[in-house]
Symmetry: D3
Subunit: 158 residues, 6 copies
């Protein structure tokens, strides 16, 4: 059984579970995981062990593994749309939904990291005033200001 | 007073009101209106009088005027992001919010009309499974299928 | 036990349950129920048995009873704000939430029934373009148009 | 009239109002209140006066009274579903809605208090990644981690 | 490249892609797929080819594959919570979110199919009146009535 | 082009842009701006330069200009509904949407500033328990308590 003990005490990768099922499963899992880590690394600018620690952690680590394997390994890594297009889509959606500020900041920074122009990021956030109302656009632009200051794109307020 | 009578009985443009305020106001209004009509025309493929009728109608026509003057004249017409980038942002946001199916269809078609690749439209919709859950992504992809069939991009089901 | 049988097969009022607990409970319940029916009757223009049938029905009838006893008996019947103010608040909220069109229509009509001016109803709906985005305001104004046509406040389109 | 003065200055129970209506109303109200307090006490582990103070407070106290009388007295106390099933339903809904973190923490702890297994709580939160998107599931799991650490179910991070 | 052609024209399973990557990937994929199909089959009562057709279809079929492989293969199939507990969690969340009526109906029926008691399903839906408001609870109970009538649990209205 | 440099470095009013287009545009813009500033000043109690600084700032200042010109100049300044009715509509909507606490506080205070009775503000917030659920009503009433204490309408807790 895959109980709480495993969820909490597991090391980063569910190696044991996968190797029990033989090399085939480990190979497929490794390929999704590697693709997910590479894509998320481009978005966050964080690499290797530090990235896995950030995403997977030591609590309910299976959710973190899905972030790498499914969200970034299966979905965001796909060809058919550039990483900039994908990050702008995510920034738009999180601005419109309005209740995940820390993820929104991560993806505003992510959009800049994968080569979107600063203008593009600002434009699609303020455009959300039309589609999701001014309060959500204003809250998102406040978060964008923090990211832009952190990255030195605008002078921080004194 | 700008009461219900005006809102309901007004002809398409609030010419009377604006001209009462002199040529200056009419000029500014005309410029935002013209820009909004041009942009929305590129998105919808609908032109001239038919577009104004669709948007402004004869009920609460001031809301329709804001669509042209503010939403498309002031916001979506801005430089700094391409019309394709803007339409993909809108498709992402409406997919994530999940409660405006007719507008979502309009902007899925709009994204194709302004030059986004069909792949890009599909990719950012299915990406929303990650950020807003599968039910909203599945509902949006169902609407996309209708649009793609209408535009002959896929064979309609018999 | 208050099982499914009761929820489904019950006649309109849970008389049996209440009378089992003695006259005291019945009296309190009757007072909330009577107040709720009176308030909802003012809002909908529907009276007596037809109102109870509409609200309580024969399926999960306890939810319908809460509508009368709690929502309209305890909350909406309170002094401290006029029924028009309350209906405009409800119209604003349902416009902004965007996913309960039949209730929104009921309360647009309700606002008119309890004496709000047609202008006020339109104004607060189109104001929601600012606070919840244009798609939700446009969808609500479409519902308002249906209600206004039904009540003869505007000519129905041919 | 039931004005602001009453709402703000009232002692915990609206005794005056109810006794004015005679012993019948007080009896019904007492029974709903007692049931609500007992159920909420099982969920929160807080008892008696402290519970009433927490819920009702001294500002807009009528809203707090509805929490006890309606939400917990009428609804959550019903037979037909166990308290664990009800708390898991609430945790799922608040995870999916994503904008009431303090209530979500209270009900994560509540689910554990009424006998849900820790695994069950974690499982339905991470399942929400599928139905409401990863950002809301990740935010909820962060709150769950705080509750689990407080209750000693996992070691707190140093 | 995994372009639109593949997304649209692909047969139900992405066999070609997977077999190109060797037997290892196919084995892992088969195991997630098989688990997902089995779980979704228990929920829907639909089996084999018909289930895959319903979920995957011929448009944007990769989204449908994620439904089987990730949503039902990785997530909903996990031990740690019963299928009834999981379906009730989904019904609660979709009732609260209020904008996916067809999925909500599927999971109301799913909850009954995997052994939840009819009372439990009704109880957690009406409980959502407390946590997400009456309009969303009322809309969900209307859908539940349709499902209960279809399954013969209540007499359909004439 | 209206790039990031302009958005960030611009002084409060886009004077240059407008004057380039001649006196006509400046006149129309001035009239919307003046109306917006006057209305928002009544709502916030903040005047002149301080108001413009608060709203427009120095980052993405075009969004702030739309707040004054469109949101308050075009929409909230309209006749047809009193400023109190408009502020109560906004408070209802933001309570129901539940994810813009700082704007909600501003409009709770705004409702009091434009002459709504304290009772009315409290009543429509607690009414949202019915239409958007208790968690959002409780969170809003917590914000209202802060505003009422700040304005000396209730004694602050020690």
């Amino acid at each position: 059984m895959l109980g709480l003990n495993r969820m909490i005490a597991m090391p980063l990768l569910a190696v044991g579970l996968l190797s029990a099922a033989g090399p085939a499963l480990a190979a497929e899992a490794d390929s999704r995981r590697a693709r997910g880590e590479e894509t998320l690394s481009k978005i966050t600018g964080i690499k290797d062990k530090k990235l896995a620690e950030m995403v997977i952690g030591t609590f309910a680590s299976d959710l973190g593994e899905w972030v790498l394997d499914f969200a970034y390994g299966d979905v965001v890594s796909r060809p058919g749309a550039s990483l900039c297009t994908r990050e702008l889509a995510t920034v738009s959606a999180l601005t419109a939904l309005g209740s995940a500020p820390s993820q929104l900041k991560l993806h505003i920074e992510g959009a800049l990291n994968v080569g979107c122009k600063p203008d593009e990021v600002i434009e699609i956030i303020i455009q959300m005033a039309v589609y999701a109302g001014f309060p959500r656009a204003l809250n998102a632009i406040g978060l964008a200001k923090e990211v832009f200051e952190k990255k030195g794109l605008v002078a921080a307020k004194k």
